[in-house]
Point group: C2
Chain length 291, copies 2
Amino acid sequence: MKENPIGVFDSGVGGLTVLREITRQLPGENTIYLGDTARVPYGIKSRETVVRYSIEVARFLTKLDIKLLVVACNTASAYALPELKKRLRVPVIGVIEPGARAALRATRTRRIGIIGTQGTIRSNSYVDEINRLSGDETKEVAERGEKHFDRYFEIKTGKMVIFTKACPLFVPLAEEGWTSNDVARLTVEHYLKGLNDEKIDTLVLGCTHYPILKETIASVMGKGVALIDSAESTAIEVKRVLNEKGIGNDTGSPAAHRFFVTDSPERFIQVGRRFFGEGIKDAELAELEAP
Amino acid sequence: MKENPIGVFDSGVGGLTVLREITRQLPGENTIYLGDTARVPYGIKSRETVVRYSIEVARFLTKLDIKLLVVACNTASAYALPELKKRLRVPVIGVIEPGARAALRATRTRRIGIIGTQGTIRSNSYVDEINRLSGDETKEVAERGEKHFDRYFEIKTGKMVIFTKACPLFVPLAEEGWTSNDVARLTVEHYLKGLNDEKIDTLVLGCTHYPILKETIASVMGKGVALIDSAESTAIEVKRVLNEKGIGNDTGSPAAHRFFVTDSPERFIQVGRRFFGEGIKDAELAELEAP
């Protein structure tokens, strides 16, 4: 069991930022990563579709005897985590709870921003998780901003104010490698102006692609705002669960990392290296079965 | 047969620009549109995957007794047209041949630009089609541009010079409705600078999303460049084939337009109205079968 791999999945390459952090914190662990590149992105798709895709991916990975599943995709975590936990015998860890926990630790002013895909923002999962962790509840929700692209939500809970904003262009920008040019900077400014004006002190990067844009986001938000990237806190949670269950790999044998994709490997390897580094030598084609 | 609908499909909403032109030129025709929104976009995916998806969609539409199929997606036309023609009994019309034909009619200087998704550009379909129509062939291919994002191809044929360029951010920009703001303008400038410097006189908008960005593209390219939008020429081709086969709808009964999607209809209706207008009242969920 200890040598069994950790399964990590995402709709595409974004989850590689989480995998990178897991391999950094847990260098002895074998891993299997699956990017559902034939159906990427999940962020614009409905709950039903994302849940169905997540179950198909999880079924594929459990057949490869994973000892733990990391849902390294915010949209899939937001929509499919309860269903996956119900169906799987191994522990299932999403990225939302670790991210929410880290945001609560970071904030001093209790004014938190959450950015993510349309699916993640619409699901309200981060707000629900923050409420659950702080024993709080949502009191009031209001829409702010004037134009289509600067619209965001203000959510007052008993203890804090949370601002949420979908940023649909961040994923294609990150995939195109436009992470710090003028287009990236303007796009970040347009999307985040409202949240910046609200004087938040903590911003959750609620999509595994967004750390790629971290420097530009940081320069737009300014020094006073802590950026929460759930990769690190998710890896800590993985470590904690492995220890708790006594299934960490302490055999000392060199770790192996396998990569699977549902579309052809070529583009995954090319784009994936921007996210994971040169460690991706090859990727295998996974044939998923419909439920 | 005459009253049977024309089937039109695309990976998402882009093909609605073609449907709009078909209903304008052929107001008496019943139509069925399918947007494969659960798996959109096709433009970044491999030939194998796009062919498989196209066959599944075509099978769904032929069960609804379409009399003709329009592949209103450049990527699917580029990759799947031969396979669809082989499998279907009804006429199949893609968007590449009509677009190539229109470009040949428009150019005076024989310097043509082609822009599209990564799949369409990689497939070289427009170049092959231009060669076929003009009885020409490719003599020399060279890569131009310096940085990652301004790289494009120069293809010399016997009779002309063709420049091709993938513009991956145009689709997400069009879907976000950022069609003429500063981000759209800068993105268009970055992608098209090389082609503009090459003094082309004709630019093929080789993706059904791109007409939404037409004004911005026109203002960057300047007045001397004709923009070819294959929607119009595809609709003319549909008309020609219906007449040739004698299957145009001349019954005079009011035309019906049905819309199907593979993901939940909500987002399709909302975004689709930017492409087709308020005529989209509703969309039905299509369950595709794997081959």
